[in-house]
Subunit: 339 residues, 2 copies
Amino acid sequence: MNEAKPPPQRVTIRTVAEDAGVSVAAVSKVMRNAYGVSEALRQNVLESIERLNYRPSNAARGMRGQTYTLGVVLVGIDNPFLPQVFAGIASVANAAGYKILMGVGAAHMPMEASLIEQMIDSHMDGIVMIAAQLSGKLMEKYARQIPIAVIGHHEPLAQTFDTVNANDSHGAKLAVRALVAKGYRDIGMVSLGPHRPHDHYDVAPQREIGFASAIAEAGLGAPKIFRFDNLDDARLGKITTFLAGPDRPRALFVWSDLDGIPILNAARQMGLRVPEDLALIAYDNSPVAALPLIDLASMDQSGTRLGQLATEALLSRIGGRKEAQHVLIDPSLTIRSSF
Amino acid sequence: MNEAKPPPQRVTIRTVAEDAGVSVAAVSKVMRNAYGVSEALRQNVLESIERLNYRPSNAARGMRGQTYTLGVVLVGIDNPFLPQVFAGIASVANAAGYKILMGVGAAHMPMEASLIEQMIDSHMDGIVMIAAQLSGKLMEKYARQIPIAVIGHHEPLAQTFDTVNANDSHGAKLAVRALVAKGYRDIGMVSLGPHRPHDHYDVAPQREIGFASAIAEAGLGAPKIFRFDNLDDARLGKITTFLAGPDRPRALFVWSDLDGIPILNAARQMGLRVPEDLALIAYDNSPVAALPLIDLASMDQSGTRLGQLATEALLSRIGGRKEAQHVLIDPSLTIRSSF
DNA sequence: ATGAAAGCGCTAACAC
DNA sequence: GTGTTAGCGCTTTCAT
């Protein structure tokens, strides 16, 4: 009676085993290139896999072994240099036979933590974090449960996880030196606000350190650092007020294009000429900065390279490395008409 | 002898059951708010869960029931209106107790297909696809294996999956009408190139249809549609040549900000005044278009709303709905100085 | 070299 | 209302 169409059964490892006339263990071994299978059996199984279009279940795999999936945690999906970093991660991961799944942290900590937990619960093999907001303490904790490599978080003494960064303090120095070389003396910095004293692991504080150091090195007195709350609706007004005020430095090093672009815009809107009235160097060298109408000089931190290095570090962790590894690469200045 | 620190055992449903002095089934029921648990037992279990900081394994859950995880497939991470769409998806999903994991398709089909397969293999409960390149045929096939809702793909007759779109042909009409209302008669369109005849499901062809229809409606003769290959390195040069040539229309409707911004840039660089020499309306109303120095008029398709609607559709599919659902919302023009 | 069988942590029948 | 138990699809000893 029950002549209804047979439910399109999922093809499992058992289906393949039966089709090939071997044991499930044999199929499993072939799938993982494990040791101990004859070439004949191997070919036989591969044919069945091909014919049946078999794909192993990630979930089932995760319960015993690896899932061959890496998680990527982002602060926000609109971060301008994300695409590059991601491309770097994907190239290395895919080449090594790993898949990637991403989670977006929306820039607040609880969200990031729950993402990591979710990735652990999904039995992913490792995690790359980009510009994490998470405290070092928590990172250490999670890193004990799953291999983690972090981009954009300076914690060179961390033991349980790896870090990969562009040298942010050095980048800031390079920017200031370029400004000084052009003859500017009255140089200020716009940094990420508000200032959070204990986040010296983040990139912005690192850039502040480099800035202050370069200012001192050039003998330009006390470093002037300004902040605009990035959650403030009245932010644009405050920027305008700042630019119109008597405190405005002749040249500005801005911690990120995220702030640099609006500042450049505000300046031009007010009739300030860039660089004749105000010189500008920002950070990240995002695509928008490269637009001819914007043409904002910016520090480039080679996102692709960061992504690659972090993924390589992660894979070697997964491969068994125990000692932490902390990589630093050098950023470079992309010169444009804004200074 | 083996006095090494006891391996930090993962706390499983069994740990909780023992701690609470109940059966694993009881714990499972509490976790899923299932029917048939006394309030006393429930509280008891919840306390243990809290105390032990228990989180169920997604992988294990997926093997029998749901994972409470939705997959989101993107064409590319740099799509300018992605953040909004994603925000819409996340808000609805999280409110319903679902987690989200994303995959990036890098705008080519094999990648997208393998992402979907991976999500199926990870036993996700459903998938939201944004601006998919996948053919309708393949979508139908995958949709038989997992609930799928698609944003930015017009296929109102599809049975196995749902679609949510802004009305792209209508949006194009609105743009042309706005141009006509300003008095422009010589109106061209820049569309996505190269033209692929069978992709009328995509948003660009839909916008072409609306454009042609509005041009006819206004009695402006044959529609003029131009294309620049977006993979072409010499693209900027071609745009410049086009703008300098005799064929340049007085006003341009551009299929996306992705092309609109470079065109605006090229025009201004060449000394063309916008809108005095060339009027421009683009599509997507991305943040860059809103920059004062750019100030490009653009059609807004309310990405947040699209994301919400698609997720609601997906959840109701997961909930058991069988008939397809195809939602269309109206875009609106964001007026700026470019026309 | 190959296969049988014991789980991994959970959900869903089914008993009680 | 609560507990027992049989799998889900794999990986991994351990026999053979």
